[in-house]
């Protein structure tokens, strides 16, 4: 059991200073994915920026455990840039 913090960035950074207690890193990863799913469900336009939606999960020591990154990529950009 440990406390994990879920920091989001979707154009603006929103650090999490409360966190949530979860059994292990695997549980925290699943929580991050569900959380991201909830944010997307709430507002599909949340990833209408170059960097998309990013959820950084840190543990009590402040170490980054993993990040969940959700991007929408335009297939045919008018400026011809390749993705």
């Amino acid at each position: 059991m440990g406390r994990y913090f879920f920091h989001t960035t979707d154009g603006v950074a929103e650090p999490d200073d409360v966190g949530f207690d979860l059994t292990d890193d695997d549980a925290a990863r699943r929580e991050a994915v569900r959380f991201g799913g909830g944010l997307l469900n709430d507002d599909p336009d949340i990833i209408r920026n170059d960097k998309g939606l990013r959820i950084d999960v840190t543990n009590e020591t402040g170490r980054l455990c993993f990040a969940v990154i959700i991007l929408a990529v335009e297939a045919n950009r008018s400026d011809g840039a390749r993705v």
Partner: protein, 260 residues
């Protein structure tokens, strides 16, 4: 007084002296919020036999599959109905506040179909179903009020389905809080700005179908609007009008004008 559970053990039922009957005032007020009852009917309700029971936070009051013989009336504190899936996932399907009868359903249905748990410390007046049934047979206005109460709970359930199925996180949370303010104000006579919302982040998540982390983020967003504020772990209403605006709240489904 005794400490619960379970309700199916023989409870000491006493004919209440007059002062004890006053404890049922809040229950009478709840039924009067949607139904007309004569003073004679109200007096009869106040003299229902009951035993007073205390439950600690998180204690089970009723469990799915049981056959109830008593109907608990919530005198103080909060309780909730919930259902579980095989992997332990929990959905809170109803929130009960002081004044609410907790199991009118068992007057007409044999088996309890969900779990009922104390959210905070609660005081219950535990009334034998037989006494309620007798009163419903003898007093049509009371029988009508019982049905109206069940119907209003069903209406709240429909609104919750809409809330969880179709509103975004901030409107969903705001809507729940608006409902609580309306209900607490009406029956328990608690003004909006003194209401302590006793739900934890995790309980709000299980009620609103969001993850606890999402609840935390949504609370922060809501707090930034001034609609709510947090004092430590306590959640309080800041700007009720703003909260209603965010929730797009209409109290029609609470049927507050049913007796006008």
């Amino acid at each position: 007084m005794s400490r619960g559970p379970p309700l199916d053990l023989p409870a000491t039922i006493v004919e209440p002296p007059k002062s004890k009957g006053d404890r049922l005032d809040i229950f009478t007020r709840k039924l009067l919020s949607h139904s007309l009852l004569s003073t004679v009917d109200q007096q009869a309700m106040l003299s229902l036999p009951f035993s007073l029971k205390l439950f600690a936070p998180n204690e089970y009051i009723l469990r799915e599959g049981e056959q109830a013989k008593f109907c608990p009336l919530l005198l103080s504190g909060f309780a909730y109905r919930h259902k579980l899936v095989a992997d332990g996932g929990r959905q809170i399907v109803a929130l009960k506040i002081p004044g609410d009868p907790l199991d009118f359903q068992s007057l007409y249905l044999r088996t309890v179909d969900h779990n009922l748990q104390a959210l905070t410390a609660v005081e219950l007046a535990v009334v034998p179903l037989a006494a309620l049934e007798k009163m419903a047979m003898e007093r049509p206005a009371f029988a009508r009020a019982v049905i109206a109460d069940i119907l209003v709970e069903a209406s709240i359930g429909r609104e919750w389905l809409l809330n969880i199925g179709r509103r975004n996180a901030i409107a969903r949370l705001a809507h729940l809080l608006c409902e609580l303010v309306h209900r607490l104000n009406q029956t328990a006579l608690i003004p909006a700005d003194t209401i302590d919302i006793p739900l934890t982040q995790e309980q709000l998540a299980d009620l609103l179908g969001l993850t606890p982390v999402h609840i935390n983020r949504t609370l922060k967003t809501l707090e930034a609007t001034g609609a709510v504020h947090r004092e430590g772990r306590r959640l309080r209403i800041g700007d009720f009008a703003e909260l209603c605006r965010i929730a797009d709240f209409s109290d029609l489904y609470l049927h507050r004008n049913n007796v006008d």
